[in-house]
Subunit: 359 residues, 2 copies
Amino acid sequence: MPKIFSYQQLCTFTHTIFLKIGCSTQDATTATKALLSADLRGIDSHGVARLVGYVRLWEAKRVNANAVCKVVHETPSTAVVDGDAGLGLVVAPFAMQVAIDKAKNVGTGWVSVKNSNHFGIAGYHAMMALPNDMIGIAMTNASALVAPTFSIEKMLGTNPIAVAIPAGEQPPFVADFATTTAANGKLEILQRKNLETPNGWVQTKEGHPTTNANALKEGGALLPLGGDVEHGSHKGYALGAIVDIFSALLSGANYGPWVPPFPAYIPMPENMPGQGIGHFFGAMRIDAFRPASEFKHHMDNWITRFKNARTIEGQANVIIPGDPERETEILRMKEGIPLLDAVVKELEELGEKFSVKIG
Amino acid sequence: MPKIFSYQQLCTFTHTIFLKIGCSTQDATTATKALLSADLRGIDSHGVARLVGYVRLWEAKRVNANAVCKVVHETPSTAVVDGDAGLGLVVAPFAMQVAIDKAKNVGTGWVSVKNSNHFGIAGYHAMMALPNDMIGIAMTNASALVAPTFSIEKMLGTNPIAVAIPAGEQPPFVADFATTTAANGKLEILQRKNLETPNGWVQTKEGHPTTNANALKEGGALLPLGGDVEHGSHKGYALGAIVDIFSALLSGANYGPWVPPFPAYIPMPENMPGQGIGHFFGAMRIDAFRPASEFKHHMDNWITRFKNARTIEGQANVIIPGDPERETEILRMKEGIPLLDAVVKELEELGEKFSVKIG
């Protein structure tokens, strides 16, 4: 039975924990908002359930709670940000703001980030562009769980891409997806329930197809979007590779199999070629292309036409990316956020350690 | 039995045909180079085999052979180009050059294009960035063949994305892929050979899974990368949608089900909301982020590490995007380009019409 917490309860708890590990009030607020956006939007694997993991990274001295983000190189439309080993939840909004400011000046802004840590959900950062009548883009690399087509080695993270696009009367278009067939969070749900995966999600350590949800733990790997080469896994692999290169090779972060792992108990890779993990952000001002009102009118038309496309019998309607997450957010703001018992227990233990009560 | 032509033979023939329909010498040269890059790189469906199709569009007055491309709106890092209904093969290199010039000035350049036609292979245009030590990006929308997840209506084109990234000692990374499970060209090959498709490539007109390679012709649709929702087709649909929006809604081209069809005999959609088809191009100067030599050193390391990743038994090595196409190009430059009998026959008929001999 999941227990229900109000958004405000989880906010207060999370904010206090970030203060306890030494974040400034402002950083704690920024990080809390970014982290809990995942719980609100229904991406439970990336929300408060990860708070313990972030604290462990701080305990392992891999997260600097007093990080000072810096622009270390720039042109009118680009920048590289050094995250100073800070929480990705703080570094990413800083870097996205740099992209937005550059877009205000010269039409677009593009920021690659090194020396950061996990940043929560990509969609949250991309959506920062929306109130500015801009398109927002966010991506990040992550520790290697994915085998490129034909390989048995884990070489890429689930490397998500998010793109947020404003509309007029309609809500915005917000795509946010891992470049794998299925995100690791979905695999973990099947593991817990002792269920098999569809084919094309994972492979065994020998690289054979399997539906064993524990294959990843047993030395296997997640598969790139497409699953196998017959179904275009080389495209998913290319997408994951592009995210890796934009996030880490443009900035000087670690890449490929050298990206530091999220669980603090896993040793760091040897001979790391960069600093921390890498992100990439973009902001494009709509009126750098055409008047925003014209664009929004056509976005409304696009969304309405796609929403009303004829469906396969039994399917209600075609989904516009971002709609399910926004509906979940409205619901959870009102009715609260359900947390699994195992998550509540971990959070309570964390609270005890820092003398903070949850709820 | 395919017949072999030298690159030079096909160049001379194609160039002459473009002159005959009224292109300037310069435009004919630009278009020929772009078109034949597909044949050289082994993407036979997008090369000289389409020349007849381009001429038919000109005959139908849908292609303007004397088009004058214009920048109709711009900021330091962005532009919208009006292609004046020209050949995409000419419009695209013009627009990509605008992106490159902007990147020289302010670090990056981003160009959305309206009022264009099919531009050949996306990879060719993206690769224009490479000699400038820039990353190149190219995408285009296309007439609707793809049903979004849960739909039976064809709403999106195969909407390809290409990203070209320079390396140092290693050849560049060049990804170029349709945002569907399989490109339409692969489907046509199976149709000709009377073979079935793997599952996840196409659906019937009722939206049911099928392995019938003729399903698309029989009212069905191509499927987004992923195939079905269990395998992430909503991600392929989102990618195709992003290409559509960047290419057409930023510029004022047609989008979704309103993109004009390539075959000139198919009537134009009703109530079209824009002009022609749309493209989107980007150029990012490497040294707008970090010194190019540093980046290239790490790209070499990335490529070498991925190429040497341990493989599934029986697989030679992990493929770096762009490697197979480059190898084909070297081979075909030396040994010639094989064309199917049906293609040769069409080209000979075209040649007769314009009194031009092929080969």
